[in-house]
């Protein structure tokens, strides 16, 4: 009972702290690699506080959809964080399965697209068009990589897939391939380098940032916070895939998994940062080529899973 309490406390604490710290880590590592000092690790927390204090400006063209979309987007993201085993330990009430996960993300996408089109700005709407294109290209990769892991775990429930119950079915090859497919798919889904550079300010090519061009103050905070949560959840799932490469004993204490997950999340964040520092942004018409890698890896993972995880 006391143990349960600890686990829940850890879970909630991490749900609060991990998103800004993960984002901060990526920014910091990137800055160091570019010979800059960079902002402190907890800069995202300062940003949240700053946006909370700022006044909000709203376009006269915007309807009720705009602010509603921000609110529902953020609540969907919060719901996602508490129901996904995005870091061990997992949600105790059962969590959700991989299809619900994918469609909750789709719900976030629909409302972001609507908000982007609501202000009548062509920048936002074209960014929405780009986001829709990227997401439909990458969707098979995210669904198939999760489904292939589900097949070897014999369940579509995320809690069971990432539950370390079935370390006896130890398929490091599959976990590595599907995990990488998921990571690449997440990079596209979050429109980070090399699909889009979140640090530039060119509205004509940006995806996520251009959609939020008209959001300001607390409204912007909600969108940005939701995106940070989404980033942590997606990278967290990839991190857990890589954690399955290490043959941890099945009945370890939960602290072992918790620490392992934290370390692995940071490792993934640093890897993404290094990759972003090295990669150049792809031309828009080349984006499908990059996505093809994710899909190919996911298909290979599915074939391995169907062959009962041969390696």
């Amino acid at each position: 009972m006391v143990n349960q309490l600890y686990i829940t406390a850890f879970y909630v604490l991490f749900a609060l702290l991990a998103p800004p710290v993960t984002l901060g880590t990526i920014c910091k590592v990137k800055a160091r690699l570019q010979n800059r000092i960079g902002a402190p690790l907890w800069q995202p927390i300062f940003d949240i506080l700053k946006l909370l204090r700022k006044d909000e400006t709203l376009s006269k063209t915007a309807s009720w959809v705009f602010r509603f979309a921000a609110a529902i987007n953020c609540s969907l993201a919060i719901y996602l964080v508490v129901s996904v085993p995005w870091l061990q330990p997992k949600p105790e009430w059962g969590g959700i399965d991989l299809f619900t996960f994918v469609y909750l993300l789709a719900a976030m996408r629909l409302f972001t697209l609507l908000a982007a089109m609501d202000t009548g700005s062509a920048f936002g709407a074209f960014a929405a068009s780009r986001e829709a294109t990227l997401s439909f290209l990458v969707e098979p990769a995210s669904v198939l990589s999760l489904a292939s892991l589900g097949i070897v775990s014999n369940s579509p429930q995320l809690n069971i897939i990432f539950g370390f119950h079935n370390m006896h079915a130890f398929h490091p090859g599959l976990w590595a391939i599907s995990g990488t497919a998921l990571l690449l798919a997440s990079i596209v889904e979050l429109s980070r380098m090399p699909i889009d550079d979140p640090t530039t300010h060119l509205e004509l090519t940006m995806v996520h940032e251009a959609m939020l061009l008209e959001a300001s103050g607390r409204n912007l905070l909600l969108f940005e916070y939701a995106n940070t949560l989404k980033l942590t959840v997606l990278f967290g799932l990839s991190a857990q895939c890589y954690l399955h490469l290490i043959p941890l004993p099945v009945d370890s204490r939960w602290e072992v998994y918790a620490i392992g997950s934290v370390v692995m999340l940071l490792v993934v964040a640093v890897t993404v940062a290094v990759f972003e520092a090295l990669a150049v942004k792809l031309h828009w018409t080349k984006a499908p080529d990059f996505i093809a890698y994710a899909i190919t890896l996911a298909v290979i993972g599915s074939i391995l899973a169907l062959g009962a995880g041969g390696i």
Partner: protein, 600 residues
């Protein structure tokens, strides 16, 4: 089963008129009743809008026949009665499609629809005749499709039903007929009529134990293509009702996918998978009936207020028509299968069935096929989100692109009420999905099985999702977004106010996706920039996108052309001479007598 049947006191020829209702027809009858009531609520005000264009007496008469015939098709107990009702349903709906008969577009749509229904009925007749000669009975309950000699009949009937349901490649009548009909009829056709065909397929093949495995594979693959094809064309449409019609093609694909998986799993002895797939099928039939008619009614409201359904002429309706916008967004969310709405429940069961197949089925090829379809469905789902984001964004959000769109008013209370009822049903069926599934349960589990039912064991927790998300959203709106924002104009790069025409257009939103599928859509963009210094100061810019539907131009077009030539050639037989006609009759009598004596 808890079927009840009545023999009516009159007959069609020598055959008794038999009405059979059981739980299966009950499910579809409830759907018919719900959608019809909402359409009735909607109609009174809506018809005032189009009363100059259509003949109201004819309209009401045909509509009454149409709805009545659908109810009879759903409860017909034998094939003869079924066919009569089926014909009344087809012909009355054709009359409704050409309600605006002065319009050339309506005439064309009516013609295409009539041809499609004729072919469908011919195939059904052929299949029914074969089955009658095989089993010696017209009663559906006596028909069994478990012998290879009945497979031809099954293929005929299935093709006929698929034409009516609008599966690829027989879907081409659907995007013509559905948009042309008056809106309440579009809602009934898309929401209920295509499901009637599905009902017949379930009734005949599931209860008749069809076991033709190759047919299941063909249906499985065609249904998947149908889903993808439908949504791909939907996103490229410029007219709201045509977009919705193509999205029906997608959803029919999903339903038929569940049907083929259900029959396939039953045949190869995986009762649990079959049950999951049947749950998906029934829930999607009802669910799609509700949200598609909701979306059609919203489109009707747009037509009522803004006088057009062309997306390039709409925009900015959200401010003046907040309720219609809200219900359209709700319908879009449901059709995109977003939790916690009813569209998600059925899609979730379909995913579960496919996932379970790819885990447990015996053959590796079958498992691979099912897993591949999971990937394709993911893609279809994302495209549906893009498609409905486009429809909502261009029609309802932003600034009005024309004067009527900017001046639109919210529709009368009864029309709003019809939309609200359907919207509530979509939410209710989603969050109360365990209750809905348990109502369907006696239908799903085979009577002889005692094993615990899989469908009841796995229920997606939509109630907590629904409550959790709505509470959080309200909290955020009240706490974080409490302060009223300062109003300002949309950023215009300092160039002065933006014209509504500078907003994204329906075509340009879909353009990146269209471009990727250039070979399938035959997409072509002609850009003509002219002027003396055309690089820096062009005087005239002309952009014209064009898209050719491969199926219509390469297959159906030439087929229609050859049919025309053939009928012109055959018209020579009709020379207008009574002597010639008497000779024809004599010759055909002789040939028939000869054939009869040879055959028997």
């Amino acid at each position: 089963m808890d079927a009840s049947s009545w023999h009516l006191p009159f007959t069609i020829g020598p055959y008794a008129v038999e009405i059979v209702t059981d739980r299966l027809s009950g499910v579809f009858l409830i759907l018919l009743g719900t959608v019809t009531s909402c359409c009735a609520l909607f109609s009174t005000d809506y018809l005032r809008h189009i009363k100059d264009k259509i003949n109201l007496q004819l309209y009401w008469f045909a509509l009454f026949l149409f709805v009545g015939a659908m109810a009879v098709v759903l409860s017909a107990g034998n094939a003869v009665f079924f066919l009569v009702a089926w014909e009344v349903m087809s012909l009355s709906s054709a009359a409704l499609v050409i309600a605006e008969y002065r319009q050339h577009k309506a005439q064309r749509a009516g013609m295409i629809y009539l041809v499609a229904t004729r072919i469908a009925t011919a195939l059904l007749c052929a299949g029914f005749l074969i089955m009658f000669s095989h089993s010696g009975s017209w009663s559906f309950s006596a028909w069994q499709f478990n012998e290879p000699s009945t497979w031809a009949a099954a293929a005929f009937i299935l093709t006929g039903l698929c034409i009516k349901a609008g599966m690829w490649p027989f879907h081409i009548w659907l995007p013509h007929a559905h948009p042309e009909a008056p809106t309440p009829v579009s809602a009934l056709m898309s929401g209920v009529m295509v499901k009637v065909a599905i009902y017949a397929a379930v009734r005949l093949f599931l209860n008749g134990n069809l076991n033709c495995q190759p047919l299941f594979y063909v249906l499985f693959v065609m249904a998947t293509i149908s889903a993808f094809w439908g949504v791909l064309f939907a996103i490229n449409q410029r007219e709201l009702k045509r977009l919705l019609a193509y999205s029906t093609v997608e959803n029919v694909g999903l339903i038929l996918l569940s049907l083929s998986l259900c029959l396939w799993a039953k045949n190869t002895n995986y009762p649990a998978i079959s049950e999951l797939a049947l749950t998906a099928l029934l829930l999607h039939c009802v669910g799609h009936g509700l949200f598609k008619s909701l979306l059609f009614l919203c489109a009707g409201s747009v037509d009522y207020s803004a006088n057009t359904l062309e997306l390039p002429r709409l925009g900015g309706l959200a401010k003046n028509m907040p309720v219609t916008t809200a219900t359209f967004i709700l319908g879009s969310a449901a059709i995109c299968a977003l939790p916690p709405l009813n569209g998600f429940v059925s899609k979730w069961y379909l995913y579960q069935a496919l996932f379970a197949s790819s885990m447990t089925m015996h053959s590796l090829v079958d498992r691979g096929l099912c897993l591949a379809v999971v990937g394709v469905l993911g893609c279809v789902g994302a495209l549906a989100v893009a498609c409905f984001a486009k429809a909502t964004g261009v029609a309802f959000l932003g600034k009005g692109r024309t004067r009527p769109a900017s001046d639109a008013k919210e529709v009368p209370i009864l029309m709003v009420a019809a939309q609200l009822i359907l919207g509530t049903a979509c939410v209710g069926m989603g969050v109360a999905s365990p209750a809905v599934v348990s109502i369907l349960h006696p239908l799903l589990a085979p009577a002889e099985s005692t094993a615990p039912s899989l469908a009841l064991l796995q229920i997606v927790p939509l109630l907590p999702i629904g409550i959790g998300i709505s509470v959080l959203t309200v909290l955020i709106m009240l706490v974080v977004l409490a302060k009223a924002p300062r109003q300002y104009k949309t950023w215009d790069c300092g160039f002065g106010s933006i014209s509504p025409r500078a907003q994204v257009a329906a075509d340009s939103f879909a353009q990146p996706i269209t471009r990727i599928f250039t070979p399938v859509l035959r997409y072509n963009l002609v850009i003509d920039i002219s002027g003396k210094d055309k690089r820096h100061f062009p005087e005239k810019i002309h952009v014209e996108p064009s898209m050719v539907s491969l199926l219509e131009t390469k297959i159906y077009g030439p087929a229609g052309h050859w049919l025309d030539l053939l009928s012109i050639w055959l018209a020579r037989l009709q020379a207008g001479s009574i002597h010639l006609y008497l000779m024809y009759m004599c010759i055909s009598m002789v040939v028939l007598i000869l054939l009869g004596t040879q055959l028997w």
